[in-house]
Structures are given as structure tokens and as C-alpha cells.
Symmetry: C2
Subunit: 130 residues, 2 copies
């Protein structure tokens, strides 16, 4: 009961890592958040997330689809329309991810304050640091 540390090692192939490596990603979190409200089309997503290029969005969506979190439906209109929706599995994740977004909104001020305090403490000669 003493040789065994309580901080488990996160080995690279443990389940948590396997999923977390994919899911704990900036774009994934944002996209999942947007899909939480219902089906959204590709270009709606791209426009909704500033700084997200179509290349990266495309990669993000394909990964989410592969992971079974999002489903892709193409409608045979001209030009084609494609909707992305959360799967039931994806909805359960979106809930957890939503907690993260809620935390961000609730604590943004505290974080910014901490950053300013840290920078003031730290920087003798590098103020206003990025």
C-alpha cells in the first residue's frame, strides 16, 4: 500500500489517452459545441468558428465521424447539401464538453486576472508579453 503511487501512469495506449488525445482538442470542442444545437452544414460551421480553415474543419469532421461522434448526411440537392449531426454517443460527449465551455465563460475573468498578475510578477523587462 506504499510502493504503489496513487497517480496512475497514463501510458500511451491506455483507454483514457486514446480517446483524450483526439477529443481534448480546441477545434473538436468548438465544433461539438456548435453541433449540440442541431444539424449544421459544412460552411455554416466554417463561418461560425473564426480562424477555422476548411481544411482543418474537414479533418476535424472526418475524425469525429470516424469516432462515431458525428454523422454526415448528404442531400442530393444541386449543389449538394451536407449536414453534420451529433450521434447519440456524440451527444453524451457534448454534455461533458459543454461543462468545459460553461467553465470558460464563468471563469474567464479570473483567468485573465491571474494572467495579468503573473505577468506583472514575472516580467521585469518583458511586459505586455503575448
Amino acid at each position: 500500500m506504499d510502493g504503489m503511487p496513487r497517480w496512475n501512469a497514463y501510458s500511451q495506449d491506455c483507454p483514457t489517452r486514446l480517446v483524450l488525445d483526439r477529443v481534448a482538442d480546441k477545434w473538436t470542442v468548438l465544433v461539438l459545441g456548435l453541433l449540440g444545437d442541431g444539424p449544421v452544414r459544412f460552411n455554416q460551421l466554417r463561418r461560425a468558428v473564426e480562424g477555422l480553415s476548411q481544411k482543418v474543419l474537414s479533418q476535424t469532421l472526418r475524425r469525429l465521424e470516424r469516432d462515431g461522434l458525428v454523422s454526415r448526411t448528404a442531400f442530393p440537392t444541386v449543389p449538394v447539401t451536407v449536414e453534420y449531426t451529433l450521434t447519440p454517443l456524440g451527444r453524451t460527449l457534448a454534455t461533458a464538453v459543454d461543462a468545459l465551455r460553461a467553465w470558460a465563460e464563468d471563469h474567464i475573468e479570473a483567468v485573465l486576472d491571474a494572467q495579468r498578475a503573473y505577468d506583472a510578477r514575472t516580467a521585469g523587462g518583458n511586459p505586455g508579453q503575448r
Copy 2:
């Protein structure tokens, strides 16, 4: 009430993005998880997370400290001992992050199944793909 889409734009300087960009990160999530159980030393963290180099750990910890999520305490032993602990603010985030880790553990199998199914569907000529 119709010109206004319900999918808010995540502008690059909106509060959510500002915090999420830092927090929705693989290493951050793992480190926060380990710190949730109590104070941990630098090299304990490094050893606990396979694949995490001291350089990246150092960066991650400094960022967490700057954000006011983690506090760093150096003990004047020889050689020096440094403990990292969650701040009260960090503890609130660790809770949300813990939901993510719990989700990963609960749904890893479903995700892996989805991946296998996707690859089988997709791959005509690229089986066993990474």
C-alpha cells in the same frame, strides 16, 4: 429573429475561445487530472504521463500557473523540491475536465468500435490504417 443564426460565431477573441484554446489541450487535461489527487512534484508528473517530455511539461505547468489554475511551491531542500497543486480555481476546472476523462473511460469501447466500422466501410485499399 430570423437573420440571427443560433450558432454563435466563435470569434477569436471571445471569452470562450480565449480560455478554451489553452485548456482544451491533451497535456493540460492529463496534468490537471493528476493534480486533482493532491500535490505532485515535477518529475512525478513527468514519469506519470508517458510521452510527456520535461520541456513540454514545463511549458504546460507554466501556462497553468499563469492562468491561475496551478500553484508552484519550492521547498528549500537539497536538491530543491517543487510541488504543484491545484488552486481553488483550478479545482473547479479539474471537475469539468474529470467529466471528460470519465467519458473517455466509459465510452472508449464504443469509439473503438466506431473506428473499426468506419475503416471497414471506408477502406477498400487502405486497411489497418492508423
